[in-house]
Amino acid sequence: MKKYILLLFILFPFLTKAQSVSGVVFSDEANGKQPLPGVNVVWEGTSEGTASMPDGSFTLKNKPGRNKLVFSFVGYESQTVRVSDNDPLEVVLQPNLELEEVTVIQKDRGTYLSVINPIQTENISGAELHKAACCNLAESFETNPSVDVSYSDAVTGAKQIKLLGLDGTYSQLQVENMPALRGLATTFGLTYIPGPWLESIQVSKGAASVLNGYESIAGQINAELKKPDSEEKLFLNVFGNDEGRYEFNGNTNIKVKGDTLTTGIFVHASDVSKENDHNHDGFLDSPLSSTFEVANRWKYNNHRGGMAQAGFTLLWNDRMGGQVGANSDMIPSEDNPYGVNIETNRVDAFFKSGIVSQDNHRALAILTNFARHETKSYYGLSRYDADETRFYGNLVYTQDLDIAAIHVLNSGASFIYDDFNEMLYNQDVQRTEKVPGIFTEYTFKPSDRLTLMAGIRADFHNIFGNFVTPRMHFRYQFADHYTIRTSAGKGYRTANVISENTFLLANSRPISWTEDAVQEEAWNFGFAFIQNYKLLDRDLSINAEFFRTEFQQKLVVDRETSSEFIYLLPSTEKAYANSLQFDVRWQPVKRLDMLLAYRVNDIKETIGGELKDAPLTSDYKGLVNFNYTTNLKKWMFDYTIQFNGGGRIPRVYEEWMNRADIAGDIFEFSPYTIMNAQVTKYFRYWNIYLGVENLTDFTQSNPIEGADDPFGENFSATNIWGPTMGRKIYLGLRFNLNYE
């Protein structure tokens, strides 16, 4: 049989003269590759083709105008292969585990938990992103049980996320597997990625792979943007809500040279120019803002293992919050209204490229990105100006150590350059980080049921010295219905003390710091147990997980020790976060997806010498989401309810214990509930959606303390635990045209 294949290869040059394609089809079995006979080989879009011989080989006449072959065989994933030149093809088909599947328009699963990935990962697909219409990455987590989204203060409109109950800064944010939106972009970065540009989001909890750096502590959030070689030809979206927010998004993909060279152009514009003050405290409920963003990206794929992508994004953002009547032209002074103005200009660029060897067993990838960020702002009378220049490069070499790819080694080197210039209270802060690093990661995957991953990296930081980051992951599907995962790993990050906490400037107390950069350090341990069943013929998945993060060094924000300052100090005292979560996903009725989730947070840190609950953090969260689509998905209905637990409000005890002028409990906030709902109607080329956020119109009472005297000593807009915006009704339209 081998001889035959050999003969085929020798004969090949002659065969090609006869204008035909040939090759061998294999199946990917546990004991290596096996020739696969009887595989259907047809030119895509036609029924012309052949079947593979008993030794897996096939020969097929060329067909003018067709260059893709489709390989299909019962029990295996179909594969489409592009035919270029006249090289012999080697096609490996993967067994398809769900044999019974005769696809009858399946309901697109929105969020699902991966059982294959060794890291506990939730994938948020494009379908899920349709459930909540609004509007950028920060707002894409409304229907997600693991990520909490809240406002950081009541004036800037900055949204922050929490993963495992820990602030978003402890989650490594990535765009297409490259660390992004760090440093100065930490505060508003999530709002810089328009939702309609997103293809999917992956949220992974606990230690991440060492390939992506040392930064993830609580987890990792990766945003995948739309790809220029996707089938989308043109996408347009307009959106408006009753609070006067308007948005336009558009993108188009152009095939410059077939599917070899493609480019995508993206545009985003949004505007809020209506002044809303529903609680009549004299302050805008959310800032006025205007944003304009454009992006262009290119993709080159030679379909023979070589690929390169490059692109850039430009962003202009201007926001104006504070008292009604404040505007960005005024000079900050006590004679003018209190205002918070933030102007940002930013450019992002990336380049990545990869080559895969002919035999598919080795690959080399390079990933780089660059960002320049400039911001000018004032918070009341305090000015804060900053700029940042950042470069990131990562080189990864992947090598299968054996033919069946049971042992895989990923190794490489990375480099980070990050230059900061900041000015606050007329004090200049300058800092340049340079961090070269090396890493290696070993993966052991003897079968589909078991994966073991162990990685280690060493980084050489010009400010914080050398440090080692070990991480380990283990996944085992020990029975058809049960999968377990464990992980343990170290994480480090540079806390940019001022830029990450600028929202605290919306406060009468000035901030006080000793070091402008602090290296935070923590261990993270995780355990998850996933059960998958069929209940009444429909998938039922039950997930239980526990994560613990233990800090060795943490930047602690102390707003409760001094009535004169807010202290930002590094601390090696006890700080930890425990997060226990359960979630159940099922379809009780055909096409009705149900998600029930409940999480308990136990997050403590030492503030002023005392171990306390982390401030402004709910001690639990419950989430119920229903999604119903009519047959053939012409209508979609969504309903989400979130139950948020109560928590602690940080205050200087001595100062507040006798305050009688404030009603209610001043050291605690109570549990509250938020509801969202949306209806979408699909047509062939477009769809329209109507929804409501915060249906019950719940808002935090008194979000701005001392609102009547914003330049006085009692002013504070930073004790925010709940929504500051009431009910919002929105309407949007999407138009979508695909290539065929």
């Binding site: 879009g45 029990g75 005769v102």
Partner: protein, 112 residues
């Protein structure tokens, strides 16, 4: 009393089920085609296109057995127009009877 409730519920269910089949027979028409889609993407293209044709209520499209079943509201569309829609997307639409369709699908299932 419990029995009565049980009986009542059962009656309801039977009533509903009966209603549904009745409704289906009266209003909806079913047409089947043999096609040449061959690939999963082709199946998706046809599905996305056909589902927004007038009156279409249900679809069963499979690229492995190359079969298309369309259920649609009688009077809102016709077998010929649906066939034309499939052909417009570049695929064959040879009309077959529902019996033939079921035979092909059953045969395919067996092979698997």
């Amino acid at each position: 009393m419990k029995k009565l409730i049980l009986l009542f519920t059962m009656a309801m269910f039977i009533g509903f089920a009966g209603n549904e089949t009745f409704a289906q027979k009266k209003e909806n028409k079913v047409v089947c085609f043999k096609s040449n889609m061959d690939c999963a993407d082709c199946e998706k293209t046809v599905t996305e296109y056909l589902k927004f044709e007038k009156g279409v209520k249900d679809l069963k499209i499979d690229h492995v057995s190359n079969t298309i079943l369309v259920e649609y509201k009688d009077g809102k569309n016709s077998d010929e127009e649906l066939a034309a829609a499939i052909e417009k997307k570049g695929y064959k639409a040879d009309k077959i009877t529902q019996k033939e369709y079921e035979e092909i699908v059953a045969k395919n299932k067996k092979e698997e």
